[in-house]
Amino acid sequence: MMIRSTKDFWAGLVYISFGSTAILVGRDYQMGTAFRMGPAYFPTILGGLLVVIGAISVIRSFIAVGAPIGRFAIQGLLLVSAAIFLFAFLVRGLGVALALPILVIISAYASTRFRWGPTLIMAVGLTVFCVLVFLEGLGIPLPMLGPWLGG
């Protein structure tokens, strides 16, 4: 047996895992009847459906030839998601004035054309803009300098 379509194979596994989670976790809730549906009724049907679709996809991956998944943009994926997660982690403690430039610099680093000069200008510009528009203008409750800095 050989996997002929990696896309179908992995997508199928993703469906199966989501579907079976829905069914297993749903066992804690009441099923009810078709007349009076409990909270587990609809998600269990959907979960079952998703498992079936996943199974078809996996089976098909052994039969029909599909396009390969192709190169993953590992650097982009890691840097962009890390920049976002780090921003969420830092923003209340450090404040927007520091967390935001960090977000800009880390994410900009993901580009193959990264250069320090324009990135720093962009970081400063965006930070000033966001502080003026979102913090001052719209009153979003985020500190400019956070408590970690004694702000």
């Binding site: 679709i53 943009a73 994926l77 979102f134 979003i140």
Partner: protein, 502 residues
């Protein structure tokens, strides 16, 4: 005349200085994101939604609608001038539009696209005005069974229109429905699939998912191969079409408008289907059909009229039924709910100024767009040159702050990041996000209507087929899904998307 009175009310609402300015901001931003590749209307509207909370509801919706149809205009500019469709709906415009530009007729192509769009926008505005109220009246008679079947039909349409494998489109729809159920169950009050996480009790915000999958996921995908975008831009000489051009493009504009208007109303489709259908029909009908692809003005006028007509008539199901037909109108439904307006058939009678104000603002917005696009074309051309590496960190910043401001919670930023990663992985696996997103919004609604319908029928599932409107909707859904299996149709569908990918 009732219609005139209503349009007058709409004009009074939308022509206030404040609303005119918001309309202008909307269409201006729309054109800009249409021009910039890698940033679509879904992500933009999701980012701006928090900003609109401080506005009155009419102004907010006028601006958001402007972004959507404005992006259709901007998308065609790049298609014609640099062969890069800024928007999915303007992919077919590249085929003849760019060829026209290479022959030195960029001006005529841009004019054909703008005039076609303006005409289509005018007709579509009138159609919404004429058919909105009767549709809403019909919808007032809808029971839970009809609503459920309507949503099934919408999801079926989004499956048919999804790119790639039918199986994965269905899979993504089911997955979307499931994810939509996370949170507190309205009927029983218990928390489902929250895994004890307190922040999930209210469910996952739609904006969070949209920003993650369309904003972040798209950025990561664009970083995969940063293509060189220093493209030679064609010179624009005369913007005014010749007499011959007028004669040739008028029938195409009429056909494109008709096709786009009809297809736009279908839930799940929006403007993309219209432009593809209009191009392929035009190719068959037109005298110059065999020369399509070499720079025929009909091949620009028809799809451009169709995508603008479709972008506007896609608001009909949202405004009259409260059922979103694509991610953009789903965001607008979200905006209405946040402003305390329950979307549905009663909006027209209870909030006439809101409904008619939006309708009339669409026409005003189209007028602004034609002015923005033709004389100011030079400014948009310069915008195409902005390198992507200066663009995406800004998008990320606005996404992060925007999603935080929804509930003032860092949790939503984490969640958005997670959906960004998921969105990228799904894109790599050939699973499209658009049908999932639509299903995500419809999930809780569908469950609610399914429960009510079954309660009323005492658990008899045949109720969906016994009620004529509901049965009709379900039959349409089944026919739509079956049509994909017909070899000739599925071949055209694939071709359309292959052309789209190219």
């Amino acid at each position: 005349m009732d219609l005139i009175g209503n349009l007058w009310l709409g004009l009074q609402t939308s022509a206030s200085l404040a609303n005119l300015s918001y309309c202008f901001v909307g269409v201006f931003l729309g054109t800009a994101i249409g021009v910039l590749p890698g940033l679509g209307p879904t992500a933009t509207i999701a980012m701006l939604l928090p900003v609109t909370f401080v506005l009155p509801p009419v102004s907010a919706l006028i601006m958001l609608a402007g972004i959507y149809y404005g992006s259709q205009y901007g998308g065609s500019t790049t298609s014609i001038l640099v062969n890069l469709p800024g928007e999915a709906a303007s992919v077919v415009t590249t085929l003849d539009g760019y060829q026209m530009a290479r022959k030195g007729r960029a001006g005529a192509a841009l004019a054909a696209s703008a005039i076609g769009s303006f005409f289509a926008g005018t007709v579509a505005t009138l159609l919404i005005a004429a058919f909105g109220p009767p549709m809403a009246n019909m919808a007032l008679k809808f029971g839970p069974a009809e609503y459920f079947s309507l949503m099934v039909m919408g999801l079926a349409a989004s499956i048919v229109l999804a790119q790639g494998s039918l199986l994965h489109a269905i899979g993504m729809v089911v997955l979307g429905l499931l994810l939509g159920l996370i949170g507190t169950d309205v009927t029983s009050g218990i928390q489902r699939y929250t895994f004890g996480i307190f922040e999930l009790a209210d469910g996952i915000g739609f904006v969070t998912v949209a920003m993650g999958m369309f904003g972040l996921g798209e950025i990561i995908r664009n970083l995969e191969n940063e293509e060189e975008r220093s493209v030679a831009i064609s010179k624009i000489t005369s913007l005014w079409p010749t007499k011959e051009d007028w004669r040739r493009m008028m029938p195409s504009i009429l056909r494109g408008t008709a096709i786009g208007s009809v297809l736009g109303v279908l839930p799940g489709s929006g403007s993309i289907l219209g432009s593809f259908a209009a191009y392929s029909i035009e190719k068959k009908v037109s005298k110059y059909g065999s020369q399509f692809g070499t720079g025929m003005i009909e091949g620009v006028a028809a799809p451009e009229s169709a995508n603008n007509a479709g972008a506007q008539t896609s608001f009909i199901p949202m405004l009259t039924l409260g059922i979103p037909s694509n991610p953009v109108s789903a965001l607008m439904v979200g905006a209405m709910i946040i402003h305390g307006i329950q979307p549905g058939p009663s909006v027209i009678s209870e909030q006439p100024a809101l409904f008619w104000g939006i309708v009339v603002s669409m026409w005003i917005g189209n007028l602004m767009l034609i002015i923005l696009n033709l004389p100011l074309i030079g400014m948009w051309v310069r915008m195409i040159m902005i390198p992507y590496q200066f663009l995406y960190p800004g998008i990320l910043v606005f996404c992060a702050i925007g999603v935080f401001s929804l509930k003032n919670a860092e949790f939503d930023i984490y969640l958005m990041g997670l959906f960004g990663v998921l969105g990228y992985i799904f894109a790599k696996l050939g699973c499209e996000a658009a049908p999932m997103l639509l299903a995500f919004i419809l999930g809780p609604l569908m469950e609610e209507y399914l429960r009510r319908a079954m309660l009323l029928s005492r658990g008899n599932p045949w109720v969906f087929l016994q009620r004529p409107i509901s049965a009709t909707l379900l039959v349409i859904a089944v026919l739509a899904l079956c049509s994909v299996l017909i070899p000739s149709f599925s071949k055209t569908r694939e071709e359309a998307f292959v052309e789209g990918a190219g």
